[in-house]
């Protein structure tokens, strides 16, 4: 391999790295979440950490991820996770139909299409299915109308 070819490979590798770094923000790990909640599922099968880039707010799509582990803290990959939610005091659900899908990192999942349309008390429910079993949990939180 001559020096010129080595230089080309080096540049190409650098370019690929730059392109990978520019992926959609939802695929990047949220390293410094502005807001997070952790909860154990109803029957104790799973522990879920909900991490969001920003405080929950009305109107815009939320940039959030989930981290799923079992009772011993081991990351669980390949789970089927359904997400729904709503405002119990108002009797309505989410304005959108969010989707949860796995990320490359073990036990990490991204949430796409999550939106809130009112300030106040919200619930987010997860139904988690894995070969080992299924369980559910509900996050409960408040959205301020000033965030």
């Amino acid at each position: 391999m001559n020096q010129q070819m080595f230089k080309h490979i080096f540049i190409l590798t650098g370019l690929v790295c730059v392109l990978l770094a520019c992926k959609a923000p939802t695929d990047a790990d949220i390293t410094k979440p502005a807001w997070e909640l952790t909860q154990t599922s109803t029957n104790g099968l799973f522990k879920v950490r909900l991490r969001c880039q920003h405080l929950p707010s009305v109107g815009s799509f939320q940039d959030c991820q989930l981290e799923l582990t079992d009772g011993s803290g081991k990351a669980i990959h390949g789970a089927n996770i359904k997400l729904d939610g709503g405002m119990p005091k108002h009797g309505h659900g989410l304005p959108t139909a969010p989707v949860v899908s796995p990320l490359a990192a073990q036990g990490h999942y991204k949430i796409e299409g999550l939106q809130y349309n009112m300030p106040g008390a919200w619930l987010l429910g997860l139904l988690i299915k894995t070969p080992a079993g299924q369980d559910k949990l509900v996050f409960s939180f408040e959205i301020s109308n000033l965030e």
């Binding site: 309505h92 659900g93 959108t96 299409g113 349309n117 009112m118 300030p119 000033l146």
Partner: protein, 406 residues
């Protein structure tokens, strides 16, 4: 204490400026930081620039001009007497003042004002369209509105020498006269059996060509409508003055009391009527749906997804990544029964009657609905009944009227 502080300010200013006209006198902000934050979020200067990735002509001045001409053209109707402006009348703030729209026939929904409508995320009361240009196409073919077949609309515009020239300047070459001559005049994908048969007799290529021109007409009309921005109201002037530290005398004490009530969580107004257009762009049941007759958003969920002219369709200028609201729209019918889009409250005092069916004649009637509705009291709505004294009602109405165009 506050009047004394204001007086001291005035006196000190009068010393430095040699006069103190009230409007320029610095005034202490009477609101708590939280309330002031909410009030500022409602002001028109918080409105972002208008945008629609699915319409690359939205802000094109030539498209605005041609769209304006199409908007007022009565030839675009079966009887030659109906234009977009028949219901969206400029002198009535681009609405019509009627209970429900009246064009070729009487419609079933109240005509909304178009001032600021381009900032909406969904269009029509049930949001069955996801863009302004796609919305603009529906009335042209609707039997109760313009009732003109798709081929007739496209032929009429593209064979008009003036339109043709402007159209070609914008979109490049249009179908030739010979090509258009081969199209039947009365063909459309929905309508009478004869009209549908005529549409299906066209080749796929012909149908796509017609739909392409049809979509372009919608994009031009949308460009014109997007130019209809909501003007500043007295409320906006009040916020601007207070931000600048000037006198807050733009609103009367009664109007200010109404504003206080409006942002008070107890009244629930701000739950839905938030942001600079006073709408959360969402769909809610307020107890006005009619089971079996008009179930609002629940009835049209599939229609949006399979609409040929939606954001993900071949006539959209958007990339799929720009169509997230369509991609993740709520599809649960049960959740959306009787739900309608939260309307903007800008200029609300001048655009009566109210609600999707136009059955509430005055703002007082609207408030009475929220206080007395049996549907709301029975828990079949997205809010609980509100409680207001007669004086509070008057204050709220006074505030709502500060959102009017002067």
């Amino acid at each position: 204490m506050r009047p004394i502080v204001a007086l001291i300010c005035c006196v000190s200013l009068s010393f430095s400026l040699n006069s103190c006209a009230e409007p320029t006198c610095p005034t202490a902000n009477p609101w708590t930081p939280q309330a002031w934050g909410l009030i500022q979020s409602l002001a028109l200067d918080a409105l972002p620039a208008v945008s629609d990735a699915s319409n690359r002509y939205l802000s094109n001045p030539q498209a605005v001009q041609l769209g304006s001409e199409l908007f007022f053209d009565q030839r675009l109707s079966a009887n030659g007497q109906v234009s977009c402006a028949s219901c969206h009348q400029p002198e009535k703030f681009f609405s019509d003042g009627l209970t429900t729209a009246q064009a070729i026939e009487t419609g079933t929904r109240n005509t909304p004002s178009l001032l600021g409508v381009a900032w909406n995320q969904w269009f029509f009361w049930d949001g069955r369209k996801d863009s302004l240009w796609s919305q603009a196409l529906s009335p042209l073919e609707d039997p109760k509105e313009h009732n003109l077949a798709r081929t007739a609309v496209v032929k009429l515009v593209l064979t008009d020498p003036q339109y043709q020239q402007k159209y070609q300047a914008l979109f490049g070459a249009s179908p030739s006269t010979a090509e258009m001559a081969a199209w039947p005049t009365d063909a459309r994908p929905s309508g009478s059996i004869a009209q549908i048969q005529a549409w299906k007799a066209l080749s796929a290529q012909q149908r796509t060509s017609i739909d392409t021109q049809f979509a372009n007409l919608g994009k031009m009309i949308a460009a014109y409508v997007a130019s209809l921005k909501p003007p500043l109201s007295r409320f906006d002037q009040y916020v601007a003055a207070l931000k600048a530290g000037k006198s807050d005398s733009k609103l009367t004490p009664l109007e200010l009391e109404g504003l206080r009530l409006f942002i008070d969580p107890k009244q629930q107004c701000l739950n839905c009527h938030s942001g600079p257009l006073f709408t959360n762009q969402s769909f809610h049941s307020i107890g006005t749906g009619e089971m079996g007759r008009d179930t609002g958003r629940a009835a049209i969920l599939d229609q949006i997804r399979f609409d040929r002219f939606n954001c993900l369709g071949e006539f959209s200028d958007a990339s799929p990544a720009d169509c997230t609201k369509l991609q993740y729209m709520q599809r649960n019918r049960h959740q959306l029964i009787g739900a309608y889009k939260t309307p903007s409250l800008r200029n609300v005092g001048q655009t009566a009657p109210y609600f999707h069916h136009g059955k509430q004649a005055t703002l007082a009637d609207v408030l009475d609905h929220y206080i007395n509705s049996s549907e709301i009291k029975a828990g079949r709505a997205d809010l609980t009944a509100i409680v207001l004294t007669e004086a509070e009602k008057q204050a709220l109405i006074a505030f709502l009227n500060t959102l009017n165009i002067e």
